[in-house]
């Protein structure tokens, strides 16, 4: 039970950050992604503000053999930069630029009962299932 305190706290901090920053509002996000007169660069500060915390923080954690409570750090692979990664990131960028939703803000908007998220999130979940089917085919082709 105690092990759920950190996820509980972190989820709330994250969700509050998304709303406070403006990231949860697709019109603000599209205002940042659209390079046209009236471009609003403010959202660059959201990732900037997050990195100001995580870059030194994660660097400091590298000296530790294990996290404060869990047995080990999860270490997703940092290489290779392959065609599946780039294709996936490109498709993500395409959808993000069309709707102004990335996954976190879409989940927060769903919680707020925003209509667009009620359509976007189910489509996002189906997309994940499609990827599970497609990924082996993409890897097979290149093998």
């Amino acid at each position: 039970m105690n092990r759920l305190v950190t996820p509980l706290l972190c989820g709330a901090l994250f969700g509050a950050g998304l709303v406070i920053s403006g990231m949860a509002d697709p019109s603000i996000v599209l205002g940042f992604l659209t390079l046209a007169p009236g471009w609003n660069p403010a959202l660059a500060l959201v990732m900037g503000g997050a990195l100001v915390i995580t870059v030194p923080g994660f660097f400091w954690l590298r000296r530790r053999a294990r996290p404060f409570v869990a047995e080990q750090f999860v270490m997703p692979p940092t290489r290779p930069v392959d065609h599946v990664l780039i294709l996936g990131a490109a498709l993500f960028g395409l959808g993000w630029g069309l709707a102004g939703f990335c996954p976190g803000p879409a989940i927060v908007s769903l919680g707020l009962g925003q209509g667009a998220a009620l359509l976007f999130v189910p489509a996002f979940l189906i997309g994940g299932k499609i990827a599970d089917f497609v990924e082996p085919l993409l890897r097979h082709r290149s093998a």
């Binding site: 989820g11 994250f14 959201v46 290489r79 490109a90 960028g93 908007s109 189906i126």
Partner: protein
């Protein structure tokens, strides 16, 4: 749009990601948490996601402005939104991360995969949104 609020909100997101990694050793990547909320990992991931939604409510409760994302008014708009959701789902699953997993955590882990992913989705995102504006 308030620059201070963007920075403050970003710092809260960063604090969340750092705390989760420092204490539990887990990556605060939203797409990854959603797609892998199964097995023994299921409980903490569902707690995190429920709390993510609650955090949005809390922020509005203390005075943040409510994000506005209504259902699009036209069938074309609805189709576009569904295609966008599909594309983000396929894309983040294939590239194993989104704005948070690759952007906030991956860049801080100095991951070449994350740097490549961030440059790609930022570039394509900007090209798409800009093209859509000029197509109208």
């Amino acid at each position: 749009m308030n620059l201070i609020l963007a920075l403050l909100g970003g710092m809260l997101i960063g604090a969340s990601a750092l705390l989760l990694y420092a204490v539990e050793g887990k990556i605060a990547g939203i797409s990854g948490i959603v797609f892998s909320a199964t097995g023994v990992e299921r409980v903490w991931k569902l707690v995190f996601l429920a709390s993510l939604m609650a955090g949005g409510w809390l922020a509005i409760g203390v005075g943040a402005s409510t994000p506005h994302a209504p259902v699009p008014a036209t069938p074309g708009g609805i189709t576009l939104l569904l295609l966008a959701g599909l594309s983000v789902g396929v894309g983040t699953r294939l590239s194993k991360g989104c704005t948070s997993g690759h952007g906030v955590c991956g860049l801080a882990r100095l991951s070449p995969r994350s740097l490549a992913a961030v440059m790609t989705f930022m570039g394509i995102g900007m090209m798409t949104a800009t093209a859509l504006r000029y197509a109208h």
